[in-house]
């Protein structure tokens, strides 16, 4: 019986991981081409403030005890995402300023809220570095819901988002509303960040968004390939990470990231070898011509 329960815990975690491993690289591919991958760092820290606020509320107010901190995290993440967009408009010529502002505010707020709460060190540790065994049924539900919304948005607006990422002016003149799409994209990033927290953790979310697409960029010629290969690398990192962490009893979030990193290094090496082989082939074919 105990074993079964343990297994369902793991199953829940794996399921959550698979959903995250699928969606993170897709959104990551868009972030990559928009040169905005760093936004995941800013938003994850503001999400931590949201979680801290949720924990604090459920601890201090009896009426709010039912609150799952993931939801307050999502709300903070959404607000943060929209604020980034707003700040980028205000500092039109220094758009990179937006993310450090949100990031540092997020850390500051988190520090404040965490110091006020009575939660143990290990609970915060789980939020920061992710823990697959703490994914409960409610969390899985949250990941499912946000995952479905994110997938629907991606399916609906894949073309529009790609066109805008490539050339905003042209997208406008082909009848795409740039403003609406930017708003939508902000929502999408917020969803992905908040859904990944429980499994990979706040400090490691950025890795799931960037590492798989960084690896797929080594091979992809088209945007579609970036997305498909990214999903492949993402899922491989997830499954590999969970497997190793379970086997060696190491932190899941960290293991997922390290697996992703290993895959990236392998991708870089394969590409390097391919290049060397190509130049070797070129030289030998030249030699044949000379002969």
């Amino acid at each position: 019986m105990e074993l079964l329960q343990q297994l369902t815990f793991l199953e829940r975690g794996v399921l959550a991981g698979l959903i995250i491993g699928f969606i993170c690289p897709v959104v990551g591919a868009f972030l990559l081409v928009r040169r905005m991958t760093i936004i995941s760092e800013g938003l994850s820290h503001i999400t931590l403030s949201g979680i801290a606020a949720g924990v604090l509320m459920s601890q201090t107010t009896a009426l709010l005890a039912f609150i799952n901190p993931l939801y307050t995290g999502l709300i903070f993440s959404l607000v943060g995402s929209l604020l980034v967009e707003k700040l980028r408009q205000i500092y039109k010529h220094f758009q990179e300023l937006a993310i450090p502002i949100i990031l540092s505010s997020g850390i500051g707020l988190s520090a404040l809220l965490i110091s006020m709460s009575t939660s143990s060190y290990s609970e915060w540790y789980n939020y920061m570095f992710g823990s697959i065994v703490t994914v409960n049924l409610n969390d899985l539900l949250f990941i499912f819901m946000t995952g479905i919304i994110a997938m629907l948005l991606l399916a609906a607006f894949y073309k529009e988002l790609l066109s805008i990422s490539f050339d905003q002016e042209f997208a406008f003149t082909s009848g795409i509303s740039v403003k609406k799409m930017n708003f939508l994209f902000s929502v999408l990033i917020a969803l992905v960040i908040s859904m990944s927290m429980k499994v990979v953790g706040i400090l490691l979310v950025g890795a799931m968004v960037t590492l798989p697409v960084a690896a797929s960029m080594q091979f992809a010629k088209s945007f579609r390939q970036v997305v498909f290969l990214g999903i492949l690398f993402g899922e491989a990192a997830m499954i590999g990470g969970i497997f190793f962490s379970y086997f060696f009893n190491i932190a899941t979030g960290g293991m997922i990231v390290v697996t992703g990193l290993l895959l990236l290094i392998i991708a870089l090496l394969i590409n390097k070898i391919k290049k060397i082989m190509n130049s070797y082939r070129l030289i030998s074919s030249r030699k044949e011509i000379v002969k």
């Binding site: 609906a156 490539f166 406008f172 795409i176």
Partner: protein, 274 residues
């Protein structure tokens, strides 16, 4: 007077535009009938690109109105009828992971609708547009790997794929080699002649385009001239002086001269090579 009876593709009425306090465009009135091939010329900083942006609704003018096919641009929604090749089209991130096919497909994205991906018919259209600009051998190549001239042709294909009836090109030949420019103008002329597409070509290269266009508009903050090519040729001296000042006028003559020399130069080079 045949000109006047044709329906208008573009109708600009008393348009003025200013960035902060600097007037860029003053009281522009311009009507472009459907089927024309208009060359919009003017020196650097004369407001050509700004006018195009107002025309497309990318910028909102301080005064005046713009109508596309009789509809105010603010309410205009038949964007498939408009093809646009921006001056900055070439300045995209050259590492962008997109193939020629994907880039040209973007021209159809406004048409396809939500939740839908390109069907077989759409894909066929994309292939046709790519063939039309002679890029079919590069269909699966990464856009960043192509030369400037090739990229430009891909962007034309992207603008053409939705079968627009109005094609606007803002300095499309910047950074493109001389031979490609000639091919490019010939292709535009063919589109205008055979398909009746209304064309607006923004350029500061008066010499090269005047062989191909039907009408010319000269812009330098105000619209100095707008009429058919022949009356432009007759008033050319005057226009150039008004727009560029006397010294540049001389340069313009030299340019014409150079143009003829150019052919000789080419011949010389060829002879040298053989």
């Amino acid at each position: 007077m045949n000109e006047q009876s044709r329906p208008l593709a573009i109708d600009i009425d008393q348009l003025s535009f200013a960035y902060q306090n600097q007037n860029v465009l003053e009281d522009i009135n311009m009507k472009v009938p459907q089927g024309s091939f208009l060359g919009l010329v003017g020196p650097n900083g004369s407001g050509k690109s700004t006018l195009i942006k107002c025309l497309l609704g990318l910028l909102t003018p301080n005064q005046g109105t713009v109508k596309l096919f009789g509809v105010n641009v603010k309410k205009f929604d038949r964007w498939n009828d408009i093809g646009f090749v921006s001056q900055k089209a070439n300045s995209f991130n050259s590492g962008f992971p997109a193939t020629v096919f994907e880039v040209v497909s973007m021209g159809l994205y406004g048409k396809v609708g939500l939740f839908r991906f390109l069907n077989r018919k759409h894909k066929q259209k994309v292939r046709e547009a790519i063939a039309q600009v002679g890029m079919e051998d590069f269909i699966n190549e990464n856009i960043g790997q192509l030369s400037g001239g090739q990229q430009q042709r891909v962007f034309i294909a992207r603008a053409l794929v939705s079968d627009p009836s109005l094609l606007i090109l803002d300095e499309p030949t910047v950074g493109v080699d001389a031979k490609s420019v000639t091919n490019f103008y010939t292709m535009l002329k063919k589109l205008n002649d055979e398909k009746g597409i209304t064309l607006i070509l923004v350029t500061h290269d008066i010499g090269a385009m005047s062989e191909y266009v039907t009408d010319v508009a000269c812009l330098n903050k105000c619209l100095h001239f707008h009429g058919n090519k022949h009356s432009f040729e007759e008033n050319k001296e005057e226009m150039m002086t008004a727009m560029y000042g006397h010294e540049v006028n001389l340069l313009e003559h030299n340019h014409d001269h150079d143009h003829h020399h150019h052919h000789h130069d080419h011949d010389d080079v060829r002879r040298d090579e053989t």
